[in-house]
């Protein structure tokens, strides 16, 4: 058919004249003729569109007869492999507009259109939770869906959410999805020793069907586990992994997924731990950390040696780093995710040293500086650190009389806290200080959690703090208690002395200020005025600026972390090589 000029149109045009005749009795006969108006021809061609498309693997299988059956047979679909959405026990229709949809978006390194579309066209993650067969303890927050959708398609990822936002849960659910789809057979999770039981408990909650094996015990048993556990999740602490490195790195087949928790443990790329972690064969590398930068951008470079070797180089500038990691790192702060967390209230307890402390402090500082000067060119950073630590200890307690202005203030606050039935966590960097506090605070039933408490007793300490109404105070060291623990039932946090970097302090504070916190968390930061603590505090603030420079594009680039010059500068000392 000639589309450009239909037949009927041509026929009409073939008439040279149109005639109109009207015959009605009440009208005079009318014979009217008009000339045919000029006509134009509009050539017409049917519009066409080109298409781009693809048949996905599951569709291809269905096409050749392996797919689900037609409804005429009335037979329930038989999936060829585990499905994301198992058949619920009782049908329940998904309602329109009931919730938002979280899409799985392809990583930047997926370039083939077909592959990218396969990610985009997956069902929204929320559909999982509409299915009764997927049993989760509670519905995740929106930002947690986003985190799961971020991890799920990535082979290389850093989940760097602020502490307390549920990195562990997001990683477990993403792992569960991959396992359900048949992508994971054997996974390895590496975490600090105190968090092993926490991980096991969380996997039991969020992925109960995944078998978990903790690599622990005698050497023979551990070696057997490395060699013979070929499915499920292997859970190991960093120390055991290093100890068993020959077995872990000589595994017969790569782990389908390797997760390292508190990834800042491998920030030093030259360390043995980093070397072992990076040498474990694996297909996917996920790093979890709330503090990807503790001191300098070198920390992030170290983590990326595990996540994506070669992505970052030590000499890279901050803008280049920010650009390079943007598709690998997901970082959300509590402010950004807009969850309904109670407020975190900071109080700076600036105290004056007691007379005894002041005398001891001045004497120690004067003598210490003299000694540092006497060392001359042999002076090292270690010498300076020793003096810093000695002075900080005096800021806590007078070494002779045991007086402490911080303790006086702390005691008053804790008594008020206990009287109101609330619980408090007190952090210090020294076990000796914790011991002194324990002796002075007996009336409040203090519990201890630090490196000298055996691992097998630590869970009991946490349980007692959680459940015993007479235990109001938990004395913790930063080293043992700053990561991974969920202590959201504590409404007060006291930083009796200050750590070297703000990230560790934040970790400590967020033991209490995290999801599930029932009320505001009050953080009291002790600071002895006119001492080394005040000078260190100024440097900590600069470190916060550094962190923001890498992970917050709106913040100006800050100064680097605590350099050797700055440490020497605490005592107006010159760097020996320069002097």
């Amino acid at each position: 058919m000639n589309l450009s000029q239909p037949n009927w149109w041509s026929n009409v045009l073939s008439h040279s004249r149109l005639a109109l005749e009207i015959h009605r009795p009440d009208f005079l006969p009318l014979d009217w003729q008009a000339e045919q108006p000029a006509a134009i021809t509009v050539p017409f061609q049917a519009p066409r569109v080109q298409t781009v498309g693809c048949l996905f693997p599951e569709g291809g299988a269905a096409l050749v007869g392996n797919g689900p059956l037609s409804f005429q047979t009335r037979v329930a679909p038989q999936p060829t492999k585990p499905m994301i959405l198992p058949e619920p026990s009782a049908p329940r229709l998904l309602r329109a507009g009931g919730k938002s949809h979280t899409r799985v978006r392809p990583p930047a390194d997926v370039v083939k259109l077909e592959d990218r579309l396969l990610y985009l066209l997956q069902p929204p993650l929320e559909n999982l939770f509409a299915s009764e067969a997927m049993d989760f303890p509670f519905r995740p927050f929106r930002y947690q869906f986003d985190g799961i959708a971020f991890l799920y398609p990535r082979h290389e990822a850093v989940l760097a959410d602020e502490m307390g936002l549920g990195k562990t849960m997001q990683a477990i659910v993403a792992m569960r999805l991959l396992a359900h789809q048949g992508h994971l057979r054997r996974s390895l999770i590496v975490c600090p020793k105190p968090l092993v039981t926490n991980w096991k408990r969380e996997i039991g909650q969020w992925a109960p069907e995944l078998p978990v094996t903790i690599v622990e015990g005698k050497q023979q048993r551990r070696h057997w586990l490395w060699e013979n556990v070929n499915r499920g999740v292997l859970l190991v602490n960093y120390e055991s992994l290093v100890r068993d490195s020959p077995q872990a790195t000589a595994t017969c087949s790569p782990f389908d997924l390797m997760i390292i928790d508190e990834a800042q443990r491998i920030k030093n790329g030259l360390s043995t731990t980093s070397g072992v972690v990076c040498s474990v064969p694996r297909r996917r590398s996920w790093a979890l950390t709330g503090t990807p930068i503790e001191n300098s951008v070198e920390d992030l470079v170290g983590i990326f040696q595990f996540v994506s070797p070669g992505c970052l180089q030590p000499e890279m500038k901050i803008p280049a780093i920010r650009h390079s990691v943007r598709d690998y790192v997901l970082r959300r702060s509590k402010d950004q995710v807009e969850i309904d967390l109670p407020p975190k209230l900071f109080r700076d307890a600036n105290v004056e040293l007691t007379v005894e402390q002041r005398d001891a402090y001045q004497l120690a500082e004067e003598e210490g500086i003299v000694q540092l000067h006497d060392i001359g060119r042999e002076l090292t950073i270690q010498h300076v650190f020793e003096l810093v630590l000695r002075l900080k200890q005096i800021c806590n307690f007078d070494p002779v009389t045991g007086t402490s202005s911080k303790l006086d203030r702390l005691t008053a606050d804790l008594e008020e806290c206990a009287a109101s039935g609330r619980k408090a966590i007190v952090f210090s960097q020294w076990v000796q200080t914790i011991t002194q506090l324990r002796d002075q605070l007996q009336s409040l039933g203090p519990l201890e959690y630090h490196g000298k408490i055996p691992s097998r007793q630590r869970d009991g300490v946490i349980e007692a703090f959680r459940n015993d109404p007479d235990c109001h105070v938990l004395l913790m060291s930063y080293g043992a208690g700053s990561v991974g623990l969920n202590l959201q039932f504590a409404g007060y946090v006291f930083l009796f002395d200050r750590w070297w970097n703000p990230a560790v302090e934040d970790q400590a504070i967020n033991r209490a200020h995290r999801i599930g916190a029932s009320g505001p968390v009050t953080v009291t930061r002790f600071l002895a005025m006119g001492t080394i603590e005040e000078r260190i505090n100024n440097i900590l603030e600069k470190k916060r600026e550094l962190f923001n420079a890498v992970f917050d594009a709106t913040a100006p680039a800050g100064k680097m972390g605590m350099s050797r010059e700055e440490i020497f500068g605490l005592f107006q000392l010159n760097f020996p090589e320069v002097a």
């Binding site: 509009v42 050539p43 017409f44 061609q45 049917a46 519009p47 066409r48 569109v49 080109q50 298409t51 781009v52 498309g53 693809c54 048949l55 996905f56 599951e58 569709g59 269905a62 096409l63 797919g67 689900p68 059956l69 037609s70 409804f71 005429q72 679909p77 999936p79 499905m83 994301i84 959405l85 619920p88 049908p91 329940r92 229709l93 998904l94 309602r95 329109a96 507009g97 009931g98 949809h101 899409r103 259109l113 990218r116 579309l117 396969l118 985009l120 066209l121 997956q122 069902p123 929204p124 559909n127 299915s131």
Partner: protein
């Protein structure tokens, strides 16, 4: 016309068109399994009607472009047979006369507000006729409407614009039976072919709705159209398919 030879799978097609003021109409067709998993996807290059076509087709332009040009082409390209094709655009229903697939238009039933003290029967026309009715008392309802009363809602339902008057008229023509389904919060009305096996169709749709919000896959299609456009169009390339004038 490419009629797929194999019998229908327990799969559904989702067909929609995205309109861009600069580039025209982009079409997308997604085939999903009953569990909501993607099986096949096709999208079309953009189509921008020129002024002559706008004048020629007038108020029926969208119906022609969506159903007869884009929709038909995309479904024809698909390799997988489906139980039914779902669309969220009433204008797409013009494809029903051109393709053998069952075609259903999906819309969300707006929640009743306190301003409406009496429940509003969503199938106004269907109630007025003594039609065959299948209802199990739970959350789905099937109505088959006779020839002179197309079984489609009078409020917000799919309509075609009369080229002369500009008034809305039912998209399915008089003299043809049609089907309307109500699945919980969704209302679907179908092409004449749907009437042949309403029970089977209803059961299949209900199984689908256990796993898929019936309007959600159209979001996926639109996302995929954007992605395909982003990947395939070099920066600064404003080219597009156009009607030949």
């Amino acid at each position: 016309m490419n009629v797929k030879s194999s019998k229908p799978l327990s799969a559904f097609g989702f067909l929609t068109v995205q309109e861009d003021p600069d580039h025209g109409f982009f079409g997308g067709y997604l085939v999903l399994s009953e569990l909501g998993r993607p099986l096949e996807f096709h999208c079309s290059t953009p189509l921008l009607p020129n002024q002559a076509q706008k004048i020629l087709y007038g108020a029926t332009l969208r119906s022609y472009v969506l159903g007869e040009v884009i929709g038909q082409t995309l479904v024809e390209k698909s390799q997988l047979p489906v139980l039914a094709v779902l669309t969220d655009q009433a204008e797409m229903m013009s494809m029903a006369d051109l393709r053998p697939e069952l075609l259903l238009c999906v819309e969300t039933i707006p929640e009743k507000t306190e301003m409406m003290p009496h429940p509003v029967e969503p199938t106004g026309l269907a109630l007025e006729v003594a039609a065959e009715e299948v209802q199990d008392g739970t959350n789905e309802c099937v109505r088959v409407c006779p020839d002179d009363q197309p079984g489609r809602p009078t409020d917000g339902g799919p309509k075609e614009l009369d080229a002369q008057t500009g008034e809305a008229t039912p998209a399915t023509g008089a003299g043809v039976q049609s089907l309307e389904l109500v699945l919980d919060t969704y209302r679907l009305w179908g092409s004449p072919g749907c009437i042949r096996r309403p029970d089977d169709l209803n059961a299949a749709l209900e199984r689908l709705a256990v796993h898929v919000e019936l309007t959600e896959p159209f979001e996926r299609v639109r996302e995929a159209i954007r992605e395909a456009q982003r990947v395939s169009t070099p920066p600064g390339d404003e080219s597009h398919e156009s009607f030949a004038a």
